[in-house]
Symmetry: C2
Subunit: 247 residues, 2 copies
Amino acid sequence: MSGWLRIIGLGPGAASLRTPEAEAALAEATDILGYGPYVARVAARTEQRVHPTDNREELDRARHALELAETGARVAVVSSGDPGVFAMAAAVFEAVEHGPAPWRDLDIQVLPGISAMFAAAARLGAPLGHDFCAISLSDNLKPWELVEKRLRLAAEAGFVLALYNPISRARPWQLGRAFALLREHLPGTVPVAFATAISRPEERMVLRPLAEANPALADMRTLVLVGSAATRMAGRFLYTPRSAASA
Amino acid sequence: MSGWLRIIGLGPGAASLRTPEAEAALAEATDILGYGPYVARVAARTEQRVHPTDNREELDRARHALELAETGARVAVVSSGDPGVFAMAAAVFEAVEHGPAPWRDLDIQVLPGISAMFAAAARLGAPLGHDFCAISLSDNLKPWELVEKRLRLAAEAGFVLALYNPISRARPWQLGRAFALLREHLPGTVPVAFATAISRPEERMVLRPLAEANPALADMRTLVLVGSAATRMAGRFLYTPRSAASA
């Protein structure tokens, strides 16, 4: 009985962007848990037990994974991108904090992956070449007023913004509200990138100036990057210069 | 003559954290350029030309890489972590923007890597599980007042902070000043992680409350993570809960 739990970042999609460390842990796992479409990316062997679940069941999935590891299973919880960025790692430690004491002593490791924002940035050029922030637009777990406050402060700070969870059927208006708010604080010429399913067959990248940024260009698989006032094109590449002139 | 330029993220150090995409590009390159210690991580074949250079010569190195690619070389510019995060990608596109017109048509791609902040976060648990920002503390390319402004706004926003380039021989006081400023805006109990050389043999991780965070715990290889008021321990793991209560 020497179970373990690995919270694994699969990267944005392509196997060529998955680390050997992640592959090795997946190969050794007895059980693979995760949101259905992510589990489907993993080529499970016939003797591995696969537990795909719904998007909204993160804490239940975390508890299930911890219970399995406690009973001696080698458990892989898979996330797209990096598991520490708006993904399963925080859910697992939340479950650990509020769960039975023995869970704290389990062999748990987080295995990092290429996050959506870096995969998107790499396709574009170097839009994250200067200071930046990452904000989840989902108001499932925090009040919308807090999202707005952070957007305002981030724009004032001159950060490039990576917006995760921009839109879903249950959250249809948040991205439009975010663009409207950012237009009050940033030039309308600031470039906005809609990066969807980067490195997967359905990959799509759309660039618009903030003044014309349309939420309909995003879906659940989209990472939205909003430049700073300094973000610009160099030929066909989008980048943010390393240097900044004034406060 | 079909030269290309790949700006490659080597990840934090261990080969097990390097993507197959990066390995494939390295294997096909005729020339490898980068800061000496990063080039040294790559097992160059004897027929490959290796061009290690000093830390401060990023723009010269970028121009050199573009010149080589223009003459038909297959050029790998290597960065630690992700090349788009305070690394070589922005320097290359800066050189492209201000360089000869043909450079804009070169075959240039950025290959993402595991950034230091995600490698560090994974070792700790999930400190980046909520909204966060990344700020370079170097005032070589921006005024220190701008760094201070961003630190203040980031603390006010409740972001977890990843501080890159925290300290060097030429920039000895900036990290101490940053801690002093953050103590004015955040509780002294906020956890600060000093993550040095993660995944390399000399790896070292030190945790301190902000009130006792000592800049001497950092060196040039250190990524400093400053939690938000919500960041906490779950057993031996550091994490930031996904939910936040109020603005």
